[in-house]
Amino acid sequence: MELALKELLTEKALAVRRKIIKMIYKAGSGHPGGSLSLVEILVTFYFGDVLRYREDDPFWSDRDRLILSKGHGIPSLYSVWSEIGWIPEYMLWTLRKLNSPLQGHPDRRKLPLIEISSGSLGQGLSVGIGMALAGKIDKKDYRVYVIMGDGEMEEGQVWEAAMFAGFHKLNNLTALVDYNKFQLDGPIGEILNIEPLSDKWKSFGWEVFEVDGHSFDELKDVFDRIKENSFEKPQCVIAHTVKGKGVSFMENNNEFHGRAPTKEEALKALRELGEIYPEI
């Protein structure tokens, strides 16, 4: 990857993380852990020349579709959209407040930028299938990306969808698993182990890739391969990530699955994220 691009992505990731911390702090509730683990993935999609979209027309009909099936990670996506300019920055601070378009979990009725409402896990991949089928009928070349959580792999609907997409060779569909190794109640391996994950997707008829979900190089490389190769099968990217990534005391600390930082914690986090004199 070119140095200039990498610097841009690194800068964007820091900005997005700061916004996540601030918005969840101001909201007083939310999911920092699973929002932070997503940052490099979303930043690569939107700023790494992966996702096809028009800055001046987010509803362009030929856009690639991105579905955040793990809806609790939405602060990450709101932050990315504010970096593009689709959401004004002041709106970020209304997260989870009455009458805000920025609902605690994505609500398409309140914010049309959202492709589909989500928050009850397991549903996004099926919606992605519908979009991929529509693309085939209409002979459009947009791609559909569905981002899921690792705990989400425990939902039966995911495997209904995996079976269908594999059988029908929906090669315009890519699933991405944010594999941060934790779910609400604890480590995935202790609650309900989802391994062998890669073998599961392969056996359902998918091309599978495993990457470091915080490495821009690896993410960009795998997304480019998916875009450039015409795979016959749908593709699944298993992105190994760290829950709470970027804030030392949140990393692998499942206390921050669904708790907002205190003021002190937020200030500390923002300093770690490069804001020397943080204001909140």
Partner: protein
């Protein structure tokens, strides 16, 4: 003299035929089924338009999610399965991916009610209408015969907005032999009488009409309404009837809770309370048997309607 009806096609068959026809005119229609296309009759559409038909196998949740994605890309999806499977198994998917995303998806079930018969309670649906009425913005309709169904499906396809249509398994008596134009959202008066008004939908409309004939012999004049719209209610007609006739009976092949009767009662309680009698399935499930036997056992056959109406108004 109790009238006899000409036996028509099941409403599910009329649905399949209508859909295959409308598919010619509306290219944006896509049809989704979950391994029951031979029962729901969506196979008729599939034969004509294989490129716009998807069989999801026995996976209702995935089917409903995919319908959401198709709707987001400008298609008009029709989802079909047995009422009990599509509504109950995919209830949450309908909530989040369809209703909670404000999408235009049509759900048309077959095998509504206990008239499914011999298969027993697991294949019968006595709660589908209550459940589908919980989704904001949904229209919930249950046609009584093939004529109304053909007209209805065309309307549903053309109108913007999510909709649930309950069709049924058995051959349906033809109620509308000389009529094929209807008004969306309005109930239809089939008999006029001033002593009591009976509202019903689906197969039991024919039972209500037969009850009307028995009541007539006893000197009781009953108004009979086909009330296909459970949501939204035809409030104007209900209010007119409440004010003029003052006694209302509702007959339905559904649980009492959350059905047409409870919805009308709730509406009238706030607007013009009148004595009501609701004949529905009472806090239980169906069982195996012939449809007629089941109507009798669960209190919605014409004989039972006749008896209950007599008790009610005397």
């Amino acid at each position: 003299m109790i009238r006899e009806f000409k036996l028509g096609k099941p409403t599910r068959v009329a649905y399949g035929e209508a859909l295959a026809k409308i598919g010619e005119e509306m290219e944006e229609i896509v049809v989704l089924d979950a391994d029951l296309s031979k029962s729901t009759h969506t196979y008729l559409f599939a034969k004509k338009f294989p490129e716009r038909f998807y069989n999801f196998g026995i996976a209702e949740a995935n089917m409903v999610g995919a319908a959401a994605g198709l709707a987001r890309c400008g298609k008009i999806p029709f989802c079909s399965s047995f009422a009990c499977f599509m509504v109950n198994k995919a209830y949450e998917q309908i909530k989040i991916s369809i209703a909670g995303s404000g999408l235009n998806v049509k759900f048309v079930s077959s095998h509504g009610g206990i008239s499914v018969g011999e298969d027993g309670f697991t294949q019968q649906s006595v709660e589908d209408i209550a459940l589908m009425c919980t989704f904001p913005g949904f229209t919930v309709v249950a046609p009584c015969d093939e004529v109304y169904t053909r007209w209805l499906i065309r309307e549903v396809a053309k109108r913007e907005g999510p909709c649930y249509v309950r069709t049924q398994r058995p051959s349906a008596p033809i109620i509308y032999e000389n009529k094929n134009e209807f008004t969306w959202g309005k109930y239809i008066k089939l008999e006029e009488g001033e002593d009591v008004a009976i509202f019903s939908y689906g197969l039991v409309v024919a039972e209500s009409l037969k009850a009307h004939d028995l009541l007539k012999k006893e000197g009781i004049k009953a108004s009979i309404y086909d009330a296909p719209y459970i949501k939204p209610l035809d409030e104007e007609t209900i209010l007119d009837v409440a004010k003029s006739i003052k006694k209302i009976v509702v007959v339905e092949e559904h649980l009492r809770d959350g059905g047409l009767g409870s919805r009308i009662a709730s509406f009238l309680a706030e607007n013009f309370p009148v004595p009501m009698k609701i004949l529905a399935i009472e806090d239980t499930y169906g069982e195996s048997g012939k449809p007629d036997e089941l109507f009798e056992k669960f209190g919605i056959s014409y004989r039972k309607i006749f008896k209950e109406v007599l008790n009610f108004i005397r």
